[in-house]
Symmetry: C2
Subunit: 380 residues, 2 copies
C-alpha cells in the first residue's frame, strides 16, 4: 500500500471515524483505524463493536486530486497517536507507505514517522445491511429530534433499555420517545417515506444518537436510515454510521401522557426558563433541586425555592392564559430546565392534574413535542 | 444598608473579588463577600487569608450614576450563590436592603431574593500596608513576566518555597526566578522605580501570581506594587490584591545558569516548537516524554522520539547557526515545550555543555530571559 493524500481531507475523515474507537480497547485492533486503499479512494473504518463509523475519501473530487494511489492495500494504524499527529504534520500532503509486517512509513515535510501497523484481517467485519427500505430524513430535523428527546433517557445501567430512545415509524410518522421514569420526552415528525416502511421497537442508545448527531453537518444534509436485524445504519454523505440496537422491549409509555387536565397555563418560554434557572441556583445549594410553582389569584404564577442556610428566591410571572383549578406543586428544577432549554417555541403550554400528578409541557407553536415531568411529593 | 446599583458594574466587581473566596471555606465567613456601602460607593472584599481582593465601585463615574445609596452599612453575603445569581438577574438594576440580623433582600425586576447575611465584624481585617515605596509597572509587562516564569515553579507541596517565584528588585532591575529543580525560568525587566527601592527574597506563590495576572486588563493598565512585612499589595485601577509572601529562604540559583558552553545552536522558534510537539506526542505514549536531539554533520539537527509499541518520529531541522562539539542529548519534551511556548522571539539560542549538563535556552531578540532544563541521563 502506497499513496500521497491531502492532509486536510485525511484529517477530516479521521476525526469522523475516530469517535468509534474505544479509548481502552478490549483488544488492540479495536484501538485502531483501518485503511483500505484502492484506485477509487481511501476507506477509513473504526469500530468499538457497539458502533462503527466508515468514511470514504474519493481519489478525486470535482477534478481536484485528493489522493494519488501508487499501490492499493490495507493496514490498521493505532488511532490515538495517529489522530493527534495528522493535524500537526508540517506539509499539506502526507505520504503513507506500508511495507512488510505492516510497518508503515508516514512522511510529511520534515517529519518521518515509522508506525507499527496491525493486520487488517483481524479487524471486525462490519455488519452487512442489505440496502432495503430506506428512510430519508433532513439532517437538521434529525438533529432536532435527537436533541429534544435524548436528555430524558436514563443514565443508569440498571435499566439498560431506558438508556436508549425508542424509535418508531408508521404511516410516515417518525416518533422518538425517551424516559428515565422521572420524566419523558416525546417527539414526532412527518417524513417522506414509502407508505409501508415501518420501524417498530427500535431502541438506539442515547450516547450513540448523540455521536450520530455530531456527524451530521449543520447544512441541510440528507440522512439515510436503514434497519436490519439488530443493527441500524445511517448514511450521511461519504460517512456510514452503524449502531447495534439495544436488546429488550421498551416499556409501554402510551398511558403516561394524560389526556385531560385540571389546570392549564400558557407562559413565555424565555421568561419562565430564566425564572426557573434562578430558582434552580438556590435549590441546588440544598442538593434537592426542589422548586415550587403556585398559581396566583391575579392570574399569574409564582416560582420559588428556598435553602435553610442561604434564604429564598421568589419569582412572579404573568401568564398569557390560566384556566382551571388553583395549584401548588413542586418539581425537580433540573428536569424542568432540561425541557425548557429544548423547546423551540416562544410560548409554552403547561398542564396539571393536581400536585401529585405528572406535569405536561408542550410548545404552543406546533404539536410535535410533549414532555412529562413527575412532581415531587412534598409537604406544605 | 440600602442601595440600588447597576447590575453590570456589580457583576464585574463580584467576579473580580470572587477569586479570593475559597470554595470550601474553613469558617463560613470566608465563603462570603463583604459589602461596605458609603455615600462614596461600594467596597467589596473577599479573602481566603492567603490572598484578599478588594474592589471599589464608585457611586458616580464620569457623571453616570452607578449606585444610589439610601443608607450606608455593611454585610457579608455567601459568595457562591451570589456570584451566580447576580449575572442572571432580569433587570439592569439591583436593589439591596439589609434589615435586622443581616437578613438581606435583593430585588431586580420580577425576582425577589431573601438571603441570610453574616456579620461583617467577623470578616478578617485586611493587612494594613502603609503606602511606602511603590513600584509602578506596566500591566502587560507584568503579565508577560508572570507567564514566562511561573510555569517552571514546583507543584509539589513537599518543597513549599519552590511553589513560588522569587521576586527581586535592585538598581531598577526587576527579576523573577522560578524552578522546580528540573528546570528554571529567569526573567528580568528594566523598571522606572526610585533608585533605592529594593525587594529582596520576596517569594510569591505561582498560583497567586496567576490570579493576579488575570486581574490585569489587557490594556496597558498600570500596576502599583508595595511590599511590607509578610505581604505584597498590588493596586490595579479600583482593585486591590493582597498576597501573603511564602515563608522561607529561596535557594541560591545563581550558579545553575552556566556561563560557558561547548555547543551552540540558533534555530527557528516555531519550527523547533512544532517538531518537538510532534515528537512529544510519541514520547507521551511511552509515559517518559523522552525526546532526543542530535546535531548532524550537515549543520542541521534531528529531533526524535520512539515508543516500543507504536514506532518512531524523526524530525530534521535546519539551524541558522551551529558551533562547537557534536552533540547527542535527551530531555523531557514537556519541559522543553513549556519553554518554547513562552519565548517571544522568532529565533532562539540553545547552548549545551555535553549530554549530562543543563541545556540553556534564550530568545535571540532580547537578553531578558534565560531558561534552563536538566537533560535525561539515558544510555545510548
Amino acid at each position: 500500500m502506497k499513496l500521497t493524500i491531502s492532509k486536510n481531507e485525511l484529517n477530516d475523515a479521521i476525526q469522523q471515524v475516530a469517535k468509534a474507537t474505544s479509548s481502552r480497547p478490549a483488544i488492540p485492533i479495536l484501538g485502531g483505524i483501518k485503511f483500505e486503499v484502492t484506485h477509487q479512494g481511501v476507506t477509513l473504518t473504526a469500530s468499538d463493536t457497539d458502533i462503527s463509523i466508515q468514511s470514504f475519501i474519493p481519489a478525486e473530487s470535482s477534478d481536484t486530486v485528493i489522493a494519488r494511489v501508487e499501490k492499493p492495500g490495507s493496514v490498521v494504524l493505532p488511532a490515538k497517536f495517529f489522530v493527534e499527529i495528522v493535524k500537526k504534520l508540517p506539509s499539506d500532503n502526507v505520504e503513507i507507505e506500508v511495507s512488510d509486517h505492516f510497518i508503515t512509513m508516514i512522511r510529511s515535510g520534515s517529519t518521518d514517522i515509522q508506525m507499527v501497523g496491525l493486520d487488517p484481517e483481524e479487524f471486525p467485519v462490519l455488519p452487512s445491511i442489505e440496502q432495503g427500505d430506506v428512510l430519508q430524513i433532513q439532517g437538521d430535523l434529525l438533529k432536532s429530534i435527537i436533541r429534544q428527546t435524548i436528555f430524558a433517557a436514563s443514565t443508569s445501567e440498571q435499566t439498560p433499555i431506558l438508556t436508549g430512545a425508542l424509535v418508531n415509524l408508521q404511516d410516515q410518522q417518525l416518533r422518538f420517545v425517551a424516559t428515565d421514569r422521572h420524566r419523558l420526552a416525546y417527539r414526532t415528525a412527518k417524513v417522506d417515506s414509502s407508505d409501508d416502511l415501518r420501524f417498530s421497537n427500535i431502541v438506539l442508545s442515547a450516547k450513540t444518537l448523540n455521536e450520530l448527531s455530531r456527524l451530521i453537518p449543520d447544512a441541510s444534509a440528507l440522512v439515510d436510515m436503514v434497519v436490519a436485524d439488530n443493527q441500524a445504519l445511517f448514511k450521511i454523505g461519504n460517512v456510514l454510521f452503524y449502531s447495534r440496537l439495544l436488546d429488550g422491549i421498551y416499556p409501554d409509555t402510551s398511558k403516561i401522557i394524560p389526556q385531560s387536565f385540571k389546570t392549564e397555563l400558557i407562559v413565555d418560554t424565555k421568561k419562565v426558563t430564566d425564572a426557573v434557572d434562578r430558582a434552580y441556583l438556590m435549590s441546588r445549594e440544598e442538593k434537592t433541586n426542589i422548586v415550587r410553582l403556585v398559581t396566583l389569584d391575579n392570574g399569574g404564577i409564582e416560582v420559588s425555592s428556598s435553602s435553610s442556610e442561604l434564604g429564598r428566591v421568589t419569582e412572579q410571572l404573568e401568564a398569557f392564559k390560566m384556566e382551571g383549578d388553583p395549584l401548588r406543586i413542586a418539581f425537580n428544577s433540573k428536569y424542568m430546565l432540561d425541557v425548557l432549554k429544548v423547546i423551540d417555541s416562544e410560548q409554552l403550554n403547561i398542564q396539571f392534574n393536581g400536585a401529585m400528578s405528572p406535569i405536561i409541557i408542550r410548545p404552543v407553536d406546533h404539536p410535535h413535542s410533549t414532555y412529562v415531568i413527575l412532581p415531587y411529593r412534598t409537604t406544605g
